[in-house]
Amino acid sequence: MKASAGVGFKPEHFEEAVASPAEGLWFEVHAENYMVEGGPRLAMLEVLRAARPLSLHGVGLSLAGVETPDREHLARFRRLIDRFEPALVSEHLAWCRSGAVCFPDLLPFPRTRQMLDVICRNIDIAQEALGRRISIENPSLYLNVGGHSWSETDFLSEIIRRTGCGLLIDANNIHVSATNLRFDAQDYIDSLPASAVTEFHLAGHSTDPELGDTLLIDSHDQPITPAVWALYERLIDRIGPRPTLIERDGNVPPFGELMLEREQAASLLAPAQELQDA
């Protein structure tokens, strides 16, 4: 897919989204929201897909869970991929299942040898079952769970080397984690395995009601901040232009407002794309 800018699709934006004339516009949805048997939700996605490229972003595979990914869930995901033929498929480097219980959250883990093996096994299973390469997203972290044997970027590089998966880099997640865990976001960007990156995410965050701006929350309910835009520019410089998504899940503004953020991303991508095409 061309390195253009897309927005997260919200059903309330359906008519404007389908009618938008914006060049290079594409849409991303959470795969789990469309794992239903039928009805208007899937019908809407059919229309959207006929108009624009689509990206499926999973939140439920629990790739960093010690258990193997749920076969039934993989089968549901595969049916969506076969039906909608998405340009991009991604998941999170996190876990959300423990035994029979699922958590609507993206939980952290210690970056140990054992977890590296487990995660690579799970990504192999997922890529096999889904019949394609997937990309994994760098997590937002709120605390250091300790016990790490790798830095996050080295851990990501090792996963990519062993599984051949791609990397989705979320600039807001870098900013949130760097602030909360007090590491240098620029160093993080400089040590990313650039050639594996398939997509960028941009989103807003909020500050903790008690701890203020020493604890940032990856809430996707605010406009993208200047600090995150600056990291995005740095990512483009270091990695090159990649399809870039404006993510918004709460306090969803009118479609036009999201499209303004999208235009800002597109204007940063364009010169890098020209440089690459030259």
Partner: protein, 248 residues
């Protein structure tokens, strides 16, 4: 080096325990809040009429109690909360609201209908050219998205009043049992108040009877009912599919 399985078991417990374990850093609250918010958002999306009746504060308090005891076993949360109506039935918040469980059940039927499989609905023109004998021989099935509900309370009237467009108007429904058909036409889910005869016809069709036999049973049980009106309401609602003929 921490064992991954042991780490995840204890982390999962700490995230969802009723009280946060002692000694956790303040940032750990973010995981506890995010977990709970995901479940509350799912309940809020699935039970909007219950939320309107209880108000946001009470709804949130009740939903938190429910979520702590009903953890999802799938990451697909669209159908989370199937036990919520029965949970409400015995909850203190429902003490003064005897119709709350039934309204929740209707919200649930709405969600089931919205997400159910697609199938071509039987349309009036599919039977309009048939002779009466042929029409009565039809053996339609309930559309996979259609749901039928019977309630001890006037929950259908109450539900409709809350979900109508425009300003909410105070209503004083007659206190009696009500029946509903929840069905899908195109992208729209509709909740239709049924009389006893139309309800009987739908139950008989669900049991595999022909249209003629279903109508005859309804006529016998509810003499004087508007059977033709009931049948046309049912068909216009998109509640039927796949009309095989009796002789086939």
């Amino acid at each position: 080096m921490p064992d991954g399985a042991e780490f995840q078991r204890s982390f999962a417990h700490a995230v969802s325990a009723r009280r946060p374990p002692k000694g956790m850093p303040p940032a750990f609250a973010v995981y506890r809040n995010t977990w709970l918010k995901g479940l509350l958002d799912a309940l809020d999306a699935s039970f909007p009429t219950v939320a309107m009746i209880l108000g946001p504060e009470t709804f949130k308090a009740v939903a938190i109690e429910f979520a702590r005891d009903h953890r999802p076993d799938t990451p697909v949360l669209a159908l989370y909360g199937g036990e919520f109506p029965d949970f409400l039935a015995v909850h203190r918040a429902a003490l003064d609201i005897p119709y709350l469980r039934d309204v929740a059940a209707l919200d649930r039927l709405w969600t089931e209908c919205f997400l159910a499989p697609d199938a071509p609905a039987l349309r009036p023109q599919d039977y309009g050219s048939l002779r009466p004998a042929e029409m009565f021989g039809l053996r339609p099935r309930l559309h996979p998205a259609a749901r039928i509900g019977w309630f001890e309370t006037p929950a259908v009237t109450i539900w409709q009043a809350h979900r109508a467009e425009g300003e909410f108007e105070e209503i004083e429904p007659e206190w009696r049992a009500e029946r509903a058909l929840v069905s899908r036409r195109g992208a729209a889910v509709t909740v239709t108040l049924l009389d006893e005869a139309a309800y009987t016809i739908l139950i008989e069709i669900r049991n595999g009877r022909t249209l003629g036999s279903a109508i005859a049973t309804a006529a016998e049980a509810h003499p004087g009912s508007d059977l033709a009106g009931g049948v046309s309401t049912i068909i216009a609602s998109g509640a039927l599919t796949g009309a095989g003929k009796e002789q086939e």
